[in-house]
């Protein structure tokens, strides 16, 4: 791997303090067998420190969505190990896996995956209710989260009455319902126009500033550019890694012909 790290790292990327939130070793996922076998994820190693935002970029079919599904316990790996906050999670039982998906990981998807018959606030409180919080505590937390994403006044709207950007903000609020140590986002801006993309970018930036640990898989350069660390994936493997954080190049002017 090729790392052209700038020495001035954001303080938020400092993971020397302890166990990484996510640790992955030799992760593999293959489909089919014999000649038709596809290695969707082919030996991935990854560490994500607390409060770090990591983006995985790659062309469609490179295996980045499968990777996210493996890390979130939505699919089972064919091999390798995954630790979440120091605890092995590959190979744990179905019940434990379901509990982990509910409380330890927040998911954000390209197509929002909101319950269409529930209002915004009902969508956001659902994970807390499923995790056994009291209806009152769950509602309070949901209202607070909608406030955070700037949708307090839309709390009682159905998803169908919200714009794409607003729906994704509701989905992000829902992902944070149980204060998960890790948020996984799969093409979070994939279905959004440019203005809505900026809304979501701002939100991810503010989450990042508040110390949320984030893994984003995407082919949208704009959201990838908000990450501390960027990994390129091809044919199921990581092929390049770079740290984006650090000092300004001071060369913006050159991009518009203001410098010679």
């Amino acid at each position: 791997m090729n790392d052209t790290t700038d020495d001035i790292a954001d303080e938020s990327t400092d993971d020397a303090a302890g166990t990484p939130v996510l640790r992955v070793r030799g992760l593999r996922k293959q489909y089919g067998a014999g000649e038709g076998m596809v290695r969707a994820v082919d030996g991935v190693d990854l560490d994500i420190g607390a409060a770090e935002t990591v983006a995985v970029m790659g062309p469609s079919g490179c295996g980045k969505s499968t990777l996210l599904h493996l890390l979130g316990g939505l699919e089972r790996p064919s091999g390798g190990q995954v630790w979440l906050q120091g605890r092995r999670i590959d190979g744990i039982g179905e019940k434990a896996l379901a509990r982990m998906r509910r409380t330890d990981i927040g998911f954000v998807f390209q197509s929002f995956h909101l319950m269409e018959e529930l209002t915004a606030v009902e969508n956001v409180e659902l994970p807390a209710l499923l995790a056994g919080r009291s209806p009152r505590a769950a509602r309070e937390r949901a209202a607070q989260l909608l406030e955070q994403v700037g949708l307090a006044e839309r709390a009682h709207f159905l998803p169908s009455a919200l714009s794409g950007g607003q729906r994704q903000r509701v989905a992000l609020a829902r992902a944070l319902s149980n204060e998960p140590p890790l948020v996984l986002a799969d093409e979070p801006t994939g279905n959004l126009d440019s203005a809505a993309t900026v809304e979501v970018l701002r939100l991810f930036e503010s989450l990042h500033r508040r110390g949320q640990t984030l893994l984003i898989v995407t082919h949208d350069a704009r959201i990838a550019a908000t990450a501390d660390r960027l990994i390129s994936m091809r044919d199921g493997a990581f092929v390049d890694e770079t740290r984006l954080g650090g000092g300004s190049t001071g060369r913006l002017g050159a991009l518009v012909g203001l410098e010679d």
Partner: protein, 177 residues
């Protein structure tokens, strides 16, 4: 910075150099920081010599700096030049052919892996995108500077999409050989 920009800024009304600088800073936001302070004055002097503007330094009211005392105004030739410049249809050309040929020659001679060149280029563009995006988000919405920064973000996105197409193509070539 084109001389014509400075010239066109005087089309509204005769101005001091420092007034032009302030207007440039407002229009360019953080991008204006790249501008050398002396640049405006050098350009004004050059344009004066070319007869495109005239300087009047009879105003001795408040500024002590000699060059800042002058008020600059367009001459008829200057007005003519501004009108031509406004009507001109020119656009900067990104040099894609150079990068394209870099990939081809590097691959042909075995100098470097085109995919590694692409990765390095993408890293650089993403750093710039990050910077432009942050600067854009820090600007008040709908400001002149925000609009310019959006242009930079969109261009970088277009370049990154082209790199994606290059990557796809070079990956295919590699897999075929």
């Amino acid at each position: 910075m084109h001389q014509e920009v400075i010239l066109a800024m005087l089309a509204k009304e005769p101005s001091h150099g420092y007034q032009l600088r302030a207007r440039l800073r407002e229009a360019l936001g953080p991008l204006g920081e790249a501008l050398n302070a002396g640049h405006v004055y050098v350009t004004l002097t050059r344009l004066e010599k070319a007869g495109l503007l005239a300087a009047d330094d009879t105003d001795r009211s408040d500024r002590s700096d000699r060059s800042d005392r002058k008020v600059y105004a367009l001459t008829p030739a200057g007005q003519q030049r501004v009108a031509e410049w406004i009507a001109e249809v020119s656009w900067p050309k990104p040099d894609l052919a150079q990068f394209h040929l870099k990939l081809i020659t590097a691959a042909a001679a075995g100098l470097s892996d085109p995919l590694a060149i692409l990765d390095a280029q993408r890293r650089e563009l993403l750093r710039r995108l990050r910077e432009a995006q942050r600067a854009a988000m820090a600007e008040p919405a709908h400001s002149d500077a925000a609009l310019l920064l959006e242009g930079i973000v969109l261009r970088l996105q277009a370049d990154l999409r082209w790199l994606e197409a290059c990557e796809k193509n070079w990956t295919l070539r590699r897999n075929r050989s």
